[in-house]
Amino acid sequence: MSDLALDLLFILVKLGLIFFVLLTGAAYLVLAERKILARMQLRHGPNRVGPFGLMQPLADLIKLLTKEDFIPPASDRFIFFIAPGLAAVTALLTFAVVPFAPDLELFGRTVPMVVSDLNIGVLYFLGLSSLGVYGVALGGWASNSKYALLGGIRGLSQLISYELAMGLSVVPVVLAAKSFSLTDIVEAQAGMPFALTNPLAFLIFMISVAAESKRIPFDIPEAENELVAGFHTEYSGMRFGLFFVGEYINMIILGAMTAVLFLGGWHGPFLPPFLWFCLKVGAVAFFFIWMRGTLPRLRYDQLMHFGWKLLIPLALLNVLVTGAVHLWLGGTA
């Protein structure tokens, strides 16, 4: 077999595996969330389908697929159709740049354990995370319902208040790793994860990421008790399911990005690298679920104040200080 064909084969296998792992991971994250939230509220959570309720994601899938796919007559049909796809696909695409293990030796050749090691991986992630909000905004707009529209608008306003802070909190990481490539960033954390060397950036990133995932303290675009279901009020069946799956894939992706940027990626003692990576992603996902079980929803203006007046100045200051420290220490930057 020629080299090119082998390369293509490897990429296809990696893609297939990542798709499979991500989708089942997202499905079981839903179950994990329901279980953990239930236990926090002294309930059992789903435990009827299969042992310990482990077949629940399958039952949910069957339910979503067999439900009526209702399209509001007044909706903008084309945009209404593509919006859920946008939400799910942007979430899936982000994983292309996430390195989940060190290079592997297979059949005498090195196979990088990442679909594509872009030299601008960080920017790719930031770009796709902003594109993801198009699913929310367009879905809210195309539904032609006031709740959905309000949800979409809130999604956009939320985006502009956390996105800058998120971008700025990644800058110190890039400064320290001297690269935009996520693989290089992980390699730079072989000794010490950036969460320890720059805890402020980590904190800002975690808050922004929580806002990016549109989950409870920042689930302003959905806000069940204000906007029915926010941007996906008019969606039903598998279209709603795509939004839903997109949210949970996003949670895994953001967990993976946090692991890669701040928690040292696959680096860790004793355990194999891939397991370390999964553990870190799981820990971040658990933190998101924990946060959902703990904090009440912010008001929409509170998030904007918080983002613009606190997070962004802090992140800017952090960039300045980190840059100064790097200049003072190394002088090579």
Partner: protein
């Protein structure tokens, strides 16, 4: 300071939820785990029998009159010796609200409430119980009670032969 109060108010709840995550759930898993009902729990209605094993019900219609949702219906009849009984007796449990007024109204302690609350069905007609379904072999909460032994009606034996009963007075002899 306000800022530190806010930080504390954000961080402390995490500890609360984590603590509760490790506690046992309080849910009772119903079909597998059943909570024993209270001793005087009012649920499915029964028809009981007297110590002799005969039906206690005398078809007096008091229960059906007392029923606020009109779920009890019957047809009275009279057997040999003047003993009254219900030719048919029917309770529509899809209407019954388990209020217990029928059991309170019953003069013969025939109709009683039992703690058996698992009588649901997906078919309303299955919830219409006939006399054969309602009758139980025993005497329920008061097994020794026998209405006809006290009633002063000459059904079990001639009048005046029951416990705590004087012989009937010949009213003609009472005339002045």
């Amino acid at each position: 300071m306000r800022f530190w109060r806010d930080v504390r108010g954000t961080v402390e709840p995490f500890w609360v939820t984590l603590r509760n995550l490790l506690r046992r759930p309080v849910t009772i898993q119903y079909p597998e785990e059943k909570r024993p009902p209270a001793p005087r729990y009012r649920a499915r209605i029964l028809l009981t029998r007297d110590p002799g094993g005969k039906e206690r019900c005398v078809a007096c219609y008091l229960c059906s009159a007392a029923c606020p949702v009109d779920c009890i219906s019957m047809q009275s009849s009279e057997g040999e010796g003047g003993r009254r009984y219900a030719a048919w007796f029917r309770i529509n449990f899809s209407r019954c609200i388990f209020c217990g007024l029928c059991a309170e109204a019953c003069p013969t302690k025939a109709i009683q409430m039992s703690p058996d609350y698992e009588i649901c069905s997906d078919e309303p007609l299955k919830l219409v119980w006939e006399k054969e379904d309602l009758l139980i072999p025993g005497g329920g909460k008061d097994p020794d009670y026998d209405f006809y032994a006290h009633a002063g009606v000459g059904v079990d034996g001639p009048r005046g032969s029951h416990a705590d009963e004087m012989a009937p007075t010949d009213f003609r002899s009472n005339l002045p």
